[in-house]
Amino acid sequence: MIDLLTVDFMQRALIAALLVGTVAPMVGIFLVQRRLSLIGDGMGHVALAGVAIGLVSGTAPVLTALIAAVVAAVVIELLRAKGRTNGDVALAVIFYGGIAGGVVIISKSPDGTPANLMKYLFGSILTTQRGDLYVFAGLALVIAVTTWALRPRLFAVANDEEYARAVGIPVLPLNIVLAVLTATTVVVAMRVVGLLLISALMIVPNAASQLVARSFSGGLRWAIGFGLVSSVGGVALSYPLNTPSGGTIVLLAVGLFVVTAVVTGVLARVGTRRHDVAETHAHEHGTLCGHPAVTHGDHVDYVHDGHLHAAHEGHYDEHGVHHDHPAEADTTPAPTTGSRP
């Protein structure tokens, strides 16, 4: 590992991976929430056209890719907002137009070899220039700060767009901001992950985190964790293995997802076996229900016919017999068929 850090291009690639691994899942969670998991892929296609224009015209490909992806992002959101039924088809036209244009234009550039194209599509640790790194760091900072600042509102809009509109949250501007953030993430990730694989780094860490998390904020933290492990790990592995960094990163992310799915699946199975559900009753325990509330470890139980009932998900768990309320206690140890007193 120390060896890796002394190689110049590896340093740059690892820093780029750190940036991408952090911001891609931050933006991706809102795409997952809005069920737009594949939109990043489409923006990658359009960014390729931008890269091609940059290579042919001699401009920095990062800049032209950013412009192309951001313009596409805004157009896509405006099309979506119009709500035409063929909006989906319009997206396809933009995305495939982008990648086809990219391939054709890049063939006209002086160094437009297929190998060159592969680097942009699937990522390469060798391509991150020092100048790029400053641009990526700046863009990543903008993405992270914007996402953090707007997080409550982006969450509200993605969670229930109609409600957000009814209470006056500016839905369209927020959706455009999210689309631009997605486009920017695509460009930041294009060196190490590649334009065809970047969408995976936005989505797969979130898919894994959703298996573990029990809240939105928890889901975000887990996703950033998975994203960082995949991106930094993938870049580090791609050097000794001599593999394209983008593919390695994404395979690592997919591997994490599979392992997480197996582990959580096993734990859930063990968990349901150890968990007693109380009889169903037509009322909810609370301050007015008439059942005494008692503390039990880290939570509050309600004494219902001598049994402890603890709120769990949509039901109550049976937490055993309560001895301080013998007047109410029932002699049967099994869950009671209690009714409201």
Binding site: R34, R214, F216, E313
Partner: protein
């Protein structure tokens, strides 16, 4: 057909509240709502005052949802005037004064979120653009969860809650914005009997707190006892507007030997002067085989 919506308009339907202008929450005059230029609901004239609990009833496709979405600004306002809290609807900046409880059988489960996180989104219109919820905001969120009986499920992931509990999460979300009126879309639809009971308790609590409510529903059921007023919408128009007593009288006139169990919504609207009772003539027209 006349646009007169009701013979009972002169008597203020909420006897507990004096009818001063400042009390008017929602005021529609000849309003038409729809999509694009096409109006689905026309000639709606309706005044809702503070403290009223109004049910808007009608069968599917009657236009009652169009009426509700029109008030909320979620569809196109084709003609007429809509005044909310004394301000023309399009000039109302503080839209969160209308507390919207949408009809959702399940909350979005695309990503995990706790009940508290969902309810907190209802607080957003009340906080600064780049700000976060402060201690007071969190207390308001906690209180909203408490009012709907979900205080001990604040940290529970919403997709694991029952349908009725999820419905109450949405009520809490609206309450967190401290609205001046709650507009609920089918709060009891698809909720099982036990949860209907809990929901009715929650609505009782809201009534005790003098929350003004507009409840859109296709069946009155357990809600009827809470109401101060009933508005019937059918065929894209308001057909009846009056107190529950007047509604019952009119309904009994129409349905004294009717075997439909959808009797709540079958007030026939093809005649004016519903409460005067000339409906016997139409009974056979609407009768089912």
């Amino acid at each position: 057909m006349s646009t007169e919506t009701t013979p009972t308009t002169p008597t203020t339907p909420s006897p507990s509240t004096p009818g001063t202008a400042g009390d008017v929450v929602i005021d529609l005059h000849d309003a038409a709502f729809g999509y694009g230029e096409r109006a689905v609901l026309t000639d709606a004239t309706l005044t809702i005052r503070r403290g009223e609990i109004v049910a808007v009833v009608g069968p599917n496709g009657s236009g009652k949802s169009t009426l509700m979405k029109g008030i909320l600004g979620l569809n196109d306002h084709v003609s007429g005037t809509v005044t909310l809290f004394g301000v023309p609807s399009q000039d109302l900046r503080d839209r969160a004064r209308l507390g919207y409880v949408p009809q959702r059988h399940t909350l979005s489960t695309s990503v995990r979120a706790t009940a508290e996180e969902i309810v907190s989104t209802g607080r957003l219109p009340r906080i600064n653009w780049l700000g976060r919820l402060r201690a007071t905001d969190r207390q308001i969120v906690a209180r909203a969860l408490d009012v709907v009986g979900l205080a001990d499920r604040a940290a529970t992931e919403v997709s694991t809650l029952s349908g009725g509990q999820q419905r109450r999460v949405l009520i809490a979300r609206a309450l967190a914005g401290q609205p001046d009126v709650l507009i609920m879309d089918e709060p009891t639809a698809g909720v099982d009997a036990a949860n209907q009971h809990v929901l009715a308790d929650v609505l009782d609590r809201l009534v005790e707190r003098d929350v003004t409510m507009v409840i859109v529903t296709h069946e009155l059921g357990a809600l009827e006892r809470l109401l101060t007023r009933i508005v019937v919408v059918d065929g894209g128009r308001i057909r009846f507007d009056g107190t529950p007593a007047e509604y019952t009288a009119a309904r009994d006139d129409v349905h004294h030997d009717h075997d439909s169990h959808h009797h709540d919504i079958e007030l026939d609207g093809h005649h004016d002067g519903l409460a005067r009772g000339p409906l016997d003539t139409t009974r056979t027209d609407r009768r089912r085989p």
